[in-house]
Symmetry: D3
């Protein structure tokens, strides 16, 4: 339903998670893995934007076997996330429209990520293609 909001889901992102993510993705920018550099410049090591993004989408994942991800738009990172911050994920349906195939519906959700102080640190639009037919 348009405007429907799911409950909040939360997880703290620790430096251990940032290091693991760097190892998975090869992004070892000093903002993420060099304490001395990051402390002086940002007041602490930063969580990779893509980890914030991945965690917000993961916390919002639907175990709906009839939906597949179509794509993302307007991916923005309005405020930094530091290791030790706790991320809260929200999802809201903002658009529903038909696909050229009548059995498919396109659902667009706005995902928002906030930190423990309520500051918005992430937002994007996620469009999913959902098969409307009954599936056994």
């Amino acid at each position: 339903m348009l405007g429907e909001c799911d409950v909040e889901r939360r997880r703290t992102v620790d430096q251990a998670d940032v290091n693991m993510f760097a190892g998975l993705t090869l992004d070892f920018h000093p903002a993420h893995v060099d304490h001395t550099y990051a402390e002086a410049r940002y007041g602490g090591r930063l969580v990779h934007g893509m980890l914030t993004f991945s965690l917000v989408t993961g916390l919002n994942v639907e175990y709906n076997m009839r939906a597949i991800s179509y794509g993302y738009e307007k991916v923005r990172f309005p405020a930094p996330v530091r290791s030790g911050d706790t991320l809260v994920a929200r999802a809201e349906v903002v658009d529903l429209k038909p696909h050229r195939k009548p059995e498919i519906g396109l659902v667009t959700k706005r995902y928002t990520g906030l930190n423990q102080n309520g500051v918005v640190v992430f937002s994007c639009l996620h469009t999913l293609a959902v098969d409307r037919r009954n599936v056994a």
Copy 2:
């Protein structure tokens, strides 16, 4: 420079990486972590779209201390990635434009991810804000 292409960077994504990513992001969809389900439906367990995305951006990361990520558009996953596939990342500058602050330039790159057979599995546009002033 517009049209400039960086060299290719590659990494195989193993099921161990998929499991680790699921643990970091809480996305335990059976397509990623249930071998029986995924084998029957997709011919193998799928790499999370966000892990593909994160790895393509990680392989393309620039250790440029004057650039910050502005955002992503047109994020698409045209073909599935299975655990065991090897991802290749490419980046190409597609747009350069001024920001309202004269010292900032906006650089837009197209990131492309391919598998070991040359099939495009990922694409997006990444805009970075770059400080053009000399920095010590």
Copy 3:
């Protein structure tokens, strides 16, 4: 409700998970980490019984802020689990009784773990103490 069954939850346990668990717990028995030994003796490396147990309880975890674990009884491992097997978790309420504090109820559940072929590989009884008062 007595006899109530939750839906099935599943996850494949890969050798990467077994290695990680060995590193967390210091249990490097050759049945788990020596391929040559385990292949000859068991037809493959075995998943730690405690990882099977932890995964069955994790898949069954309830995000009920008023319940705390009281303890486990009759923990049994009737058949081996090999790395690569997929675990299915089931929970069934088998007993409800009052605690000496009237606001507390004791709920006992039987947890069962099965592999992808429907063989029971784990069972135990888990008793939880639940606060029956309304909590804001």
Copy 4:
């Protein structure tokens, strides 16, 4: 020998270990992974009971190729463990009895887990079936 005590074995459990364990088992209860929630309610994030249990059994593991785990009873968690605590494991033989197969002996050990302040945080009884015949 009845009453025999092994030497102490110890390991600090860090939040990184708790996060890794959550990822392996899918137990992301906020008591373990949400710093804000856990700090207010428990004075810090809690180690999963099953990680404490797994670590106590891992620290006590015997590399005895003739012993197999029969099962656990009376598993209790008398005090909470917070991330950063150091666990000490102890094992004591409390019962020896014959199996109906004469070549098998049943050994029951009491496992105890303590924190760095000597507080008992875990206990259980572990019964192992040991093959008494000489094995090459």
Copy 5:
């Protein structure tokens, strides 16, 4: 005692371990993480020489609180290790000599690493400084 040999200790090194090691050390050479490249060139992905070295020293670690590592010499990697191989570690005392401080003895051990087929894949000399005084 000179010539004394400890028992064998073994562990299989899986690709998951290689990936984790790459993430910890930033050595993402394609010989280790690019399946297509490594398969064509080496018949499989190679274990980092430093992971082989670290595992051989780890399997040989002595929990002797009076010994500290002085250094390594003649570190050699005579044959490649592929992910999936099982490493066996051996240690042999090859030299004992006094330090200029009379309370210290220098013990030199030869560490050898073999694969599951008995091929020597690693060797080095490790010198430890051991405090000979009684310590409470």
Copy 6:
């Protein structure tokens, strides 16, 4: 070129990395994993010498497909590294000499590891065999 110095590369080593390394290598010496013991004795938990060594070589890795590692000499650990320290890696060419096969050159580099305060915590000599022929 003899005397040539590469730019500095840095990474903070967190306790999470030390725990992971212990799990990969089985070196669970209390200096690395027992906070109480290590705090009293060393003012904090120590990074494994082999992790320092592996990180220095990893930070210095060359993606030169024509070079292979010949071996290491004079591996020394002049000062302790504690978890939380930031390692800086340097490499300097100190020797070039021909191999008995004319197409091979032997390059010896001195690797140095420093902490965030400029204290040398690691040094070694690394000899690489480089194929001087043109390779497609």
